[in-house]
Amino acid sequence: MVDSEEARARLAEIAERRKQVLDGTTRGRHRGWDTTGLVALVAGFAAMDLPVPMALRLSLFGGAVIAALACFTHAGRHGRVAMHRSQMTPRFWALLAGGALASAALTVAGLRLLDQIDFPLRNTLVGVVLAVFIAATHPLYRALLLRTAR
């Protein structure tokens, strides 16, 4: 017979295991593919500084962003654990959307700032800053992701 104390302990254990999985999905990603994705992202922004027609620049940028997203997806698939869709709660999606919005805001602000000072290779610089931002905020993303488990 199972009493309520034991049941409570088991439920707490289940919650802890869920946190382990969330942690594993971020720590266990394939670093090579993640790095390749960041490089592709920077290359996309660098393409915007090339002295070629705008249509070609935009095509190169779009291709690079798609390649970067493919690399990030690949990094997750080559990880040690893949999150089940049941764990993708509204809080999880809100966190992802928040991260995407923060990145977009940083990009727009960076481009406007560099527009004013007429910096050479300004798109490349914004790409580098964005890549560093994504890499540097990864621990924060992990910490916030664990909070979605509560």
């Binding site: 199972v2 040690r80 089940h84």
Partner: protein
């Protein structure tokens, strides 16, 4: 107190519950990840996985070749249903006011 419906004796032992709880939150997990998370030896984890596989709760597949070969474990639909039922049974045992639904998957 009687055992509530959905309570699964196969899942309930602590080590196995930990393993199933990990698998329930994943599409699949590498054997090495499960081993480190649970702090088990290869043989102890293999035994637990085999028990679940024999019951139709888990499945094992191998990917890659050579040094990149890896063993992936996942929960079957039957295993997931059994786990959900077991969690519901545990919640009923605890009572509605003590544990919020957000605390367990």
């Amino acid at each position: 107190m009687s055992t509530p419906p959905g309570f699964d004796e196969l899942i309930h032992p602590p080590t196995r519950l930990g393993l199933v709880a990990l698998l329930a939150a994943t599409q699949w997990a590498e054997f090495s990840f499960l081993k480190e998370s649970l702090g088990l030896s290869d043989s102890a984890l293999s035994k637990q996985v085999s028990t679940l596989a024999e019951a139709g709760y888990a499945e094992v597949r191998k990917e890659g070749a050579g040094r990149r070969r890896r063993t992936l474990v996942s929960l079957t639909d039957q295993g997931r249903t059994a786990f959900d039922g077991h969690v519901d049974a545990l919640r009923r045992l605890v009572g509605p006011t003590v544990v919020s639904p957000a605390e367990a998957p």
